[in-house]
Amino acid sequence: MPLQRLQITAADPDPALLDLPWNIPLEEWPADRLAALPRGISRHIVRFVRLSGGIIAVKEIGETVAHREYELLRQLGRIGGVPCVEPVGVITGRTADDGEPLEAVLITRHLQFSLPYRALFSQELRPETATRLIDALAVLLVRLHLVGFYWGDVSLSNTLFRRDADRFSAYLVDAETGDLHAKLTDGQRNYDVDLARTNIIGEMMDLQAGEYMDEDTDIIAIGDALVQRYNELWAALTDEETFGAADRWRVAARIERLNALGFDVGELEMTTDLDGTKVHIQPKVVEAGHHSRRLLRLTGLDVQDNQARRLLNDLDEYRAASDRQGEEEQFVAHDWVTEVFEPTVRAVPRTMRGKLEAAQMFHEILDHRWYISEKQRRDVPMPEAVESYVTNVLAHRRDEQQLLGLAPEDAALQEDGGSWG
């Protein structure tokens, strides 16, 4: 046994961590220990490792920075509602067999069904995919800024994406340069957004140079779209609005508009002028996840917000079709889960269920049913739609539950950015 006194800082340490070869520099870990290698050039060595049935990401990094990033991710987790990876722990005190001290590591849990941007761009990149990624990143940045998180290095490669119905949701992966404040200054927000624009355009220049993206795509416009999307959303969520005292309907309208954007209003400040002719309203506390919270309350299903929106729409249709509008919503929702959602998802062969999240699969099946119903000019029943979806769509899709990077034996491809099969 190597002589090393490991120190593991973790909220819930998994004893299996002790079995990993901490006495070996991460770069030299044997392939049989690894689930995958990351793609592209990173300033730190990162490896994906299987542990107790899941996958963890291990990053070699200075001790102080490792503890700092761990704490920051924990704080973000505690605040809640911030889409970011979950920290597992920090390991220090690593020593190689020759006595050389080795760098500390930060361990995070791999986010299931998450996709690195290179995986999305390198298939056939459609311009709308880029737009949807940018939209997701703008939402993430707004959500982080709302809780006072300054990122300091916003980029596509520091983000993971998950399919979320017909959109994507973005998750923060790398918090190394970040900082949590009580409230961000405009300077901090603008700097983050400006840096995001520069980094994203740079990353797309790289995709163009690697011929993963059409060189005629206007990448500057895509970068500008991020700034625009961010500013629109920030204004919608935080701007003060003023109207005449007679136009009170605008209070409800503002809340509805925020709900439609996927946000709940926790606190809305309303003031009037001295003479009471003008009303000012300004949201003070807004929280993302309007649809997912509602779906969770009704059905116990915990899914992403746009998936929830889609599922709720289907629930509404079910309620109308079964003529149960007068009934308690919870009861109808329970029946919808047992009669519609679960049978549909279960009809997908077990071997293919790892390809997508259940809610995502359900969303795609609904889309597919609509598509074949249009084509065949009839109302295709759900079981038939599932069968067609499985054979014609899902069978040709890759497994996205743990789409990580390069196979461990393809190390040589790593610094080229690698290509996705």
């Binding site: 300054y150 740079g202 995709l207 140079a209 500057i220």
Partner: protein, 405 residues
């Protein structure tokens, strides 16, 4: 300020003697990129004590200034105020003679160095360095010229048309620096840039940043918590504590004449030994030792000092002497640290000094003594040491301020 003093164009600034390289850097060619904090304060909402309290600091054109201090001292906040990332709640900040207090970060003509390390694998080193200029719409020929100049300074010329995978770790660091250089900002800002690097790269990059800054002559503000980094890199160092500027000066000033007890204990490694003693009849009573204190120092003591001084002495200002000497005091050796060219004794004061209020970098009631590495005492041995005359530092015990010698 008149145009003539404002625009300095002469052969010297256009020519870098060491490599014969023309440096088309705005900061040294057209404008005086001084930085001035004019009673600048940052008070976070909901707090009473300012994070940065009326900072007055003037940084000269081309100067490398290091902001240093323990965590929470306000050094990063001060840097971010200059960057436009923190609001300035009182006072002003100027770059040259332009008041930038309320200007957005991207319009300040500053560059945060190392804000982005990520290298793009499919792009050449040249494109990796110049991509931000391309986004800004800079003409191609200009980009190439600026990238080539930066590459010369960074010793990356032969790699310009290659991919980053051909580069070593240190060279990749230099590409990251190159990204900031090609933007030709008036001021470089660096916030603990080495903290993310492993130990080997850290020392290497430290030297590179310092020498590069001198070659470029661009005003640079650098934040670190590490006093060794500050001493080895800065033209001048500003030490902060609790949001207050403690002292600003050259590394030599800070080391030789610390303005107060805090700076005395913070600057230097191993740290200065500091002890508080009663002054009696012109002498500080250090256990059995009588250490003369100047009349000027005694006269400068205030009511809050209560007739006591804090005496500071660096590990290298102690000599091992015989017990008979008037200024000798006993130290019991706990550990000897041998570093080849140097050796240090970590010891405890003994005898009547056992209860003295003394501390050092090694902890309370501990002193550190540099000794001849060819003649080290054994653990547990008692040695007698004396402060070399003139090398003591005197501070008021209550005020903590430096007393005249």
């Amino acid at each position: 300020m008149s145009e003539t003093t404002h625009n300095r164009i002469n052969a010297d600034t256009l020519h870098d003697g060491s490599s014969g390289t023309y440096l088309p850097v705005k900061g040294t060619v057209t404008t005086m990129a001084t930085v001035t904090y004019d009673k600048a304060s940052r008070i976070y909402p909901g707090t009473e004590r300012p994070a940065v309290d009326q900072l007055d600091l003037h940084i000269e054109d081309g100067e490398f200034l290091v902001l240093v201090g323990p965590s929470g001292c306000g050094k990063s906040t001060s840097l971010r105020m200059l960057a436009g990332l923190e609001d300035v709640n009182g006072g002003r900040i100027l770059i040259g003679d332009k008041d930038v207090t309320h200007i957005q970060p991207k319009d300040r003509d500053i560059a945060m160095v190392f804000q982005n390390y990520a290298l793009y694998p499919h792009m050449t080193v040249a494109d990796n360095m110049g991509f931000a200029l391309k986004i800004a719409g800079t003409p191609k020929a200009d980009i190439r010229a600026r990238v080539e100049e930066a590459a010369k300074i960074l010793d990356l010329t032969e790699y310009l048309d290659r991919k980053p995978k051909a580069l070593s770790g240190g060279q990749r660091q230099r590409v990251a620096m190159g990204r900031a250089i090609v933007r030709q900002p008036q001021v470089f800002l660096m916030d603990e840039p080495l903290s993310n690097l492993d130990a080997k790269l850290r020392v290497q990059t430290r030297t590179q940043i310092a020498s590069l800054q001198r070659r470029l002559g661009v005003t640079t503000v650098y934040v670190t918590h590490d006093q060794t980094e500050a001493l080895t890199m800065g033209d001048r160092i500003a030490v902060l504590k609790d949001g207050l500027l403690q002292q600003v000066g050259t590394p030599r000033d800070m080391y030789d004449t610390p303005a107060n007890v805090f700076v005395a204990g913070f600057i230097g490694s191993p740290a200065m030994n500091l002890g508080t003693f009663k002054v009696n009849g012109g002498f500080a009573e250090v256990g059995p030792a009588r250490i003369p204190v100047s009349r000027a120092a005694i006269a400068a003591l205030g009511a809050e000092d209560n007739g006591k001084i804090t005496l500071g002495f660096r590990p290298e200002s102690l000599d091992v002497v015989s017990q008979a000497e008037a200024s000798a005091f006993p130290v019991e050796v706990n550990i000897v640290e041998e570093l080849g060219s140097d050796a240090f004794v970590y010891g405890t004061l003994k005898g009547s000094l056992a209860d003295a209020d003394v501390h050092s970098g090694a902890g309370d009631n501990q002193v550190i003594v540099r000794i001849d590495p060819r003649n080290v005492p054994a653990k547990g041995e008692r040695i007698f040491v004396a402060i070399r005359p003139g090398e003591e530092h005197l501070f008021g015990a209550g005020s903590g301020l430096r007393l005249p010698a």
